[in-house]
Amino acid sequence: MKVKKEATIAVIIGLVLALVVTGTILRARRALQAIKLPDTSILKKKPVSSINPKTNELYLELTTPDNLVVSEPQLTLTGKTLPGTYIAILGEKGEYLIVPSDIGNFSQDVVLVKGANAIKVSIYQNDGKKIEKTLNVVYTTAQL
């Protein structure tokens, strides 16, 4: 009789332990699903230059990396500046005068020559202020 009682207690303790483990696993699952991981994509695209756009000062961020090597005769140049400005892009093979979007983004396909290309981007404000940056790009079909 005494043995039977001890065995019953052991079974109950075992059941409680199993329930605790089960509950812990299920709670951990719910907690992991609730975690929202931060968007790391913005960390991958490091701008060439960065000035806080909130200051309302003229700025130019080029999201296209500098010193690129490309195998196509065209490059999409992208960046961000102050809205309401004017953008002059001087490539080796063509020139472009564009305006940024309402939030300051801009994008322009630039035709490249084989070899070295210097792409000068100038931003003009109505009051005559200007800033500029130059990107170097090499267009080659050779294997590196």
Partner: protein, 223 residues
């Protein structure tokens, strides 16, 4: 009897956590909400795949354009617009002299040669050169410029702009594109007092020929 209880205890202790683990594994079954997990996983795999494309060999390659400052054993010291760079040469490096792209050795690289150094960034500041092109002539010659100014004179073949520091005469050709931020406009609609942005080519005497003119303000708004 005691043995039976112990067996029962053992079985329950093993089976319950196993069941919980199976439920917690997304691939176990398609419970409500699991389709979201699958979508997220697919998105994650797609992003990883795209990131893989970005990290393809050519996208990791870089090129510096500048001037040779020194050649020390298997290292070419060059200077580009951002400063000095050490380009490490190896058996995999191809050295070419432009024009003609004749293959050369490192002994043929001269100080003050213009250079394009293509390769891959290594550890620290080391840049592993894979294809180096040197030339005695500049590899980048910019004969283009841009500017902003207000029209002070207009003629059929040229216009004069007042910029921040000078009066600039710009010649026009039949190829000159004249536009506003919303589209092409006629040259005849330009007036004295209008503000323009221009791109132009320069000759050796710094004379400018406009390639694109964009009116940013009309004189009526400016006044």
């Amino acid at each position: 009897m005691q043995k039976k209880y112990l067996y029962l205890l053992f079985v329950i202790s093993i089976l319950l956590p196993l069941h919980a683990y199976a439920v917690a594994t997304p691939s176990a079954s398609l419970a409500p909400g699991d389709d979201q997990v699958i979508t997220d996983n697919l998105k994650k795999r797609l992003q990883e795949s795209l990131a893989g494309e970005e990290s393809s060999p050519l996208s990791q390659a870089r090129a510096y354009i500048g001037v040779v400052k020194d050649v020390i054993k298997d290292t070419v010291v060059m200077e580009d617009k951002d400063g000095k760079k050490d380009i490490k040469l190896s058996d995999e490096t191809t050295l070419l002299r432009s024009p003609g792209n004749a293959q050369i050795t490192s002994e043929n690289i001269r100080i003050d040669d213009y250079i394009i150094a293509m390769g891959y960034p290594g550890e620290g500041d080391v840049f592993s050169g894979r294809r180096l092109i040197v030339s005695i002539d500049p590899l980048l010659i910019s004969l283009k410029t841009s500017g902003m100014g207000t029209i002070t004179k207009l003629s059929k073949s040229s216009l004069t702009l007042k910029t921040t520091d000078k009066e600039q005469v710009i010649d026009l050709t039949s190829k000159t594109v004249i536009k506003s931020p919303v589209g092409t406009i006629e040259y005849s609609t330009l007036a004295i007092g209008d503000t323009l942005i221009y791109t132009a080519t320069m000759d050796t005497k710094d004379n400018l020929t406009a390639t694109i003119l964009m009116r940013t303000q009309t004189s009526s708004i400016a006044l």
